[in-house]
């Protein structure tokens, strides 16, 4: 009974719901697949790294929404989200400054000694750069908002 009294004071962010859990269980794999498709096929169809990365990030948000934010936070661990977002920025910058090192301008894909360098460069920036940054930051912002300022948790 003391739990119920404590809950009444605390604003609750998670209430277990069979409907939401079942829906997310069915929908999440499709959203993940669609997100990966939009990311990897973004050069030839609508979408790209931003939309695809956001969709992949949303899958994690859906899981947190359905199964509780704290269990999802523990499942993710404290490192992976930061690593994903930072890795995206590093990949993007590396591709950009790589062409400078090869004697061209920033992101001048044609400098790379590859077959179809521009197409491959665009794909690399979209998938390895933008998608990772957006997915990481969206997941990060969600869990940060849920956690609130430090010293505020109960």
């Amino acid at each position: 009974m003391s739990d119920a009294a404590a809950d009444a004071d605390e604003p609750r962010t998670y209430i277990e719901s069979e409907v939401i859990m079942s829906s997310v269980r069915v929908v999440a794999p499709f959203v993940l697949t669609f997100g990966l498709f939009v990311t990897f096929h973004g050069a030839d169809s609508p979408g790209g790294g931003f939309q695809g990365g956001a969709l992949v990030g949303v899958v994690v948000l859906m899981l947190a929404f359905a199964f509780g934010i704290d269990p999802t936070r523990q499942w993710l661990g404290s490192r992976i989200v930061t690593i994903v977002a930072a890795l995206g920025l590093v990949v993007f910058a590396a591709i950009g400054f790589g062409s400078v090192a090869l004697g061209g301008g920033f992101l001048e894909y044609a400098r790379y000694p590859l077959h179809h360098p521009t197409k491959l460069g665009i794909e690399a920036v979209e998938i390895g750069g933008i998608a990772l940054i957006v997915a990481g930051v969206i997941i990060g912002l969600f869990f940060l908002t849920a956690a609130g300022p430090r010293g505020d948790e109960s």
């Binding site: 939309q51 956001a54 969709l55 460069g121 912002l141 869990f143």
Partner: protein, 178 residues
């Protein structure tokens, strides 16, 4: 098709007004999500599926979730003050940023200028539509513009997204996202 667009535009206007007028914040957030969904469909109907996809995911999905989380996490302020205290440093930073952006205004073409490069078809739009495939090898012109022709801008945007995450960490005085 036209009637669908008109119906969607009406839906968007009604949901936008409802978002502004509803007193219950939870209801306003739900209606705002519906507004974003209407906008996403409208963008898709106006042949901008890339923007529509973004609006659907970010506007209808992520924003709604973040707003729901926010009302679950916030309470009414306990004291009687009606107006927030103003931090002079924050005011200075915001003013300086606005001034810097304002400096770029004279460089923009006048509103509705028919000779603006973005409107005169052949200078920009037509060039991308006819040349992007042969120059970049990707079929989605939007992706070609985003990652090749305007790659430096996109690098800046990606950095801004990352910086937004870092800024949230700083504001909430935390060291890791999760």
């Amino acid at each position: 098709m036209e009637y669908v667009a008109y119906a969607l535009a009406l839906f968007v206007i009604v949901t936008a007004v409802a978002t502004a007028l509803l007193r219950d914040i939870l209801a306003a957030i739900v209606v705002f999500g519906a507004y974003s969904l209407g906008m996403a469909l409208l963008y898709t109907l106006l042949l901008a599926p890339d923007v529509g996809l973004t609006e659907a995911v970010i506007g209808a999905g992520v924003t709604t979730l973040l707003l729901l989380l926010t009302i679950a996490k916030t309470v009414r302020p306990s004291d009687d003050r009606n107006i927030e205290r103003i931090d002079p440093r924050a005011l200075f930073a915001c003013g300086a940023l606005a001034a810097v952006f304002g400096l770029t205004l004279p460089g923009l073409p006048a509103v509705g200028d028919p000779d603006a490069p973005i409107i005169s078809y052949d200078a920009v739009t037509g060039y991308y539509l006819t040349q992007s495939y042969s120059e970049t090898g990707v079929e989605n012109t939007v992706t070609a513009v985003l990652a090749a022709y305007r790659g430096f801008d996109t690098f800046g945007e990606a950095t801004v997204v990352f910086a937004a995450g870092v800024a949230a960490l700083v504001v909430l005085r935390r060291e890791v996202f999760t």
